[in-house]
Symmetry: D2
Subunit: 339 residues, 4 copies
């Protein structure tokens, strides 16, 4: 039972949604780097609820306190620990989730795993709130990567069955997408979507064979984001519909270096970077918390029951998941770069 | 640089396609289990080339020799090492792959990673041949799981853009699929497809939070299979097109236990098994080795070049990948079960 | 670069002596256990400076704040994070340790490792202060072990060349030992000693072969305690002076179970527990911080220099290291027990 | 249950004393290195039984076959697997060790751990024979280290209570030591001793804080050598008898670099190398296999029993353990260097 990952850069996430605090520890971050804390805060704000279409009314400042690993404004080579207090909790909303688990949530499975000892309030450790420390850690990683010429950028491909056009707002949505989300919200329902991410600037030759390559590491980490149910690299699932001669990326010299003319491989061949952008797409399921009445079970009475979820929820988590995907991708990219 | 995975059950794969041998070491396998070696051989035969549509003409017996970990026919609690000799190699076919790397293969990236020291013959360590020891290890895991009431079964969903019908041959193909593969082969080209896998019989409560859950572990391992470029659990990417009220799996009591009425979650909630079948789909790209002329680079002359791949290849690797997906899924399932 | 250990129970330590806080994260602790927090505090008090012969005048309450992993007074199966604030720091005492490193301390090596970015104040992350969160984590582990019939107890064998008699005070010292320490303190010098520890109640059969056995795991963790420079199990170094017939522990049945008549093996055969107490001895070097003038180097001027260490130090760390050895041993024992 | 260690360089050992073969897999060895296989063989011969005082009459060539990881005489960046066949086994000598376990051996604990499924013949996986693949792996590591200016050398400090003089034979013994061993052998008994090892040429700044430093890693690995029961670094246990002012190593500039005038720290401060030789001493217990009658238990009849061990054994394992200590130290040193 563990909430950590990474080899050279280890990330450990702790905390429950309605406990005293959430936070993270980052081991292996390079020493001597001076992070811009205003940029860290700005990055974390991209994840916070602040008027995105369909975002929860739970508003927290979510400012992390750094407890260790920084000295005179620079990383000092030791574990970086940061905590974020939980201030704006309304735990009474979640009073009976260990009796009547919410469909699509981890209430039932955590109950089973811990034999009922889990902190069920707000989903506990499985809450989307745990993505805040991921973003803190990822913000540091992103800044360090930028200093090495590596960029990580994600965008929304689709909301429900709608492909996002170029005319996006600051949250990555277009008009039609906002409309879809708002209608879902009015209906007491929710929608999901697909996020695309690209890591550019990684040199050729990073990664390891077979079980420890770039796809392996990225997928292991990205599935750590709640609500993610699929990942594909390069042409991915649609690549299975192509002929080999179409899907193969032809090589050619460009500026004295071998590159590929297309990037169906998503920048990864045999688990190892080929110098092209590492690209992947992530399936984010519709938020399981919906206002509509749902069918569940009553674990005390051992019979079927119905449930109306109170509390504050996102009708669509995709815009807020955008920086989280970037954050986790940045952490993996830095781990690879440190090898 | 590592070719291993697993926590309680560790799997290490070694070998190059045209070196003396390939093999694996399995650490943590439960002691006292008597594997049926005929069934192991039969399982490995499912992966071997033996007349599937489009399969390579390279035919090897691929019988593993078990060097350790078995005593009087039973596992004795120590690392199980097995080797498979490489007998039927035609290395001359691959003479210049470190000069003119094959598109879609790992020739170029391994060359970069090892500064030219890689064994490029037949793809070396990145060859699909390395899936033979995966199948050996997975066959043992499958048998043990069966003794615990856990089954792992994969089937082909699609070849290229064709959905497989129920009328399948022993390799999981239908008539139309065989036709698509044969036409690709004739054209000197290749096709891919999608494989679906289900693990049934796992109890509720297996897995860990956030970065160490069932999706994380399965995806990390499954991307260890060459040519896999995507994975999705339950409703996956298509689930992003549903409303939350459609995608959530309602709970209900059945035979005194809480179950879900649908399985869009693929048996996993919050990274933890919910007692339903663990289901996932895997995107297998079209085999990158094709007979058609392709554009590549000449790394010696530092200029563009063209390439016609000789050697023996599969016009479609999907039928042979079927048992490999089962094998790797079984290894992960056993690792989870041992927690 | 990592400050963690453990497989089933992972312990991560963070913090610098003069930073905002120190703390730990414990992953994998069994769910549903209700720790007695008064006993945790009492255990941590054994480590605190409180009038032991030769203990530092730096006095901190060192009360940990638990941020996660506890719910309604019980462990809830998620990472347990705890922080201890650094309140009583006198950082000016350490102003130039990155220029003139203290002999016997990690100032120079951390400076080299981090290219000067280390937080040198009070030894930073290498400070003995980091044993406080170890004691917090170990206190939880000890309580859980007690509930399973496993006890961990350490005692002082010797201070300098004096063997401790049975007539010990609450800190494990006898009159002569106190005298030795006080004389060292008056002389501006320091002394070390040897600690013995026994883990009783572990069942036969715990541990793994070769590199992952009980001695491997215990030694790896115990050397995490600052100032530890040696460890021996059972008869250890003195066992090398015995004949095999003397050092071998004869087996015999007792109460229906095979036991050994002696315990020169320290409860471990082939890396695996044999049901007898696991016993080991730990060498604790004399505290490197001494008031006497010492020879060092000036890294700025690149020449030899002399140094008088100010600040508050322990003339003998052994009594305060006693609970730390118990804590770390308990963490390893619990990790083993959870396998 | 695992027989592996290492982070950047992973070593996995497999095999049983009387099974088909023993061997190892080395992951992460740098690519492009051309090992001198004659030197590898010569190093392994130092471990083989070949007329050392008191060595076993079991004589095997122990020539490893390299199955992977080498291409055209150079490492190719993939796992290096090597196997050594077991040819000269006399398994009948060990027929009843799972019924009447040998004192001082792992027979009983492995029996308990595996519920009787262990391969007890010759100690199975716990046999000293498993040090042969350690030596193969270590020989490669030593050669690579030498190419980087790092040397690893061990010598015998003492046999039983006798300090070895400078007048040593090729096995590290002096006349008195040979006499002690021969007398033990005649008496059907055995003796142990202490080995000292030094790693020279490592740069300052290698290692990690707290649980992942040089002492932690070396001790974890060295206890993987059968019969090792203690380890101490630098002045170790005897350092506890010194005053701090004596045990601290004064710094001084030499050839423009800060060095220490003494090396009581064994080259390690705060878990990190300080550029001085890394020195440690290892306690090797008297061989548990002795011809003298010993008291054991009969696990079938559940009563006390006596045992006379047949088979071929070493009256003193220390000379043959010498290269094993070097091998394991070299593996750890290379792992550190690759960080």
């Amino acid at each position: 039972m563990s909430s950590s990952f990474g080899k050279n850069l280890k990330v450990t996430i702790f905390g429950e949604s309605h406990g005293p605090a959430i936070g993270c520890v980052l081991e292996g971050f390079p020493a001597g780097f001076a992070p811009d804390m205003d940029k860290v805060t700005a990055f974390m704000q991209r994840r916070a609820s602040r008027g995105q279409a369909g975002a929860t009314a739970r508003s927290e400042e979510d400012l992390p306190e750094v407890l260790s690993g920084l000295f005179e404004g620079k990383t000092c080579g030791t574990p970086i620990a940061a905590v974020i207090r939980n201030n704006n909790t309304q735990s009474q909303d979640y009073a009976n989730l260990n009796v009547c688990p919410r469909p699509g949530h981890a209430d039932l499975t955590w109950n089973a795993k811990t034999k009922g000892a889990n902190d069920y309030r707000g989903g506990g450790h499985a809450s989307g709130r745990l993505t805040a420390p991921m973003c803190f850690a990822g913000a540091l990683a992103k800044q360090y990567l930028e200093s090495q010429g590596v960029a990580v950028n994600a965008s929304i491909c689709s909301i429900k069955d709608h492909q996002i056009s170029d005319n996006q707002d600051e949250f990555g949505l277009d008009e039609e997408a906002r409309k879809i989300i708002e209608e879902a919200q009015k209906a007491g329902d929710s929608v999901g979507g697909i996020i695309e991410c690209a890591i550019t600037g990684l040199p050729m030759g990073l990664g390891s064979p077979i079980f420890d390559g770039v796809e392996n590491k990225l997928s292991q980490a990205i599935f750590g984001i709640p609500a993610v149910k699929g990942i594909e690299f390069g042409s991915g699932f649609s690549g299975t519909k192509l002929m080999g001669s179409q899907n193969n990326d032809a090589f050619a010299y460009k500026n004295g270096k071998p590159v590929t003319k297309t990037n169906n491989a998503g920048g990864i061949l045999g688990g190892i970077t080929n110098g092209m952008p590492v690209t992947f797409r992530v399936a984010v399921k519709p938020t399981p918390s919906i206002a509509k009445e749902q069918q569940t079970v009553d674990l005390d009475k051992k019979k079927d029951a119905s449930l109306e979820i109170k509390g504050r929820h996102d009708a669509c988590i995709v815009p807020r998941a955008l920086p989280v995907v970037e954050a986790v991708a940045a952490l993996v990219a830095l781990d690879l770069l440190l090898d």
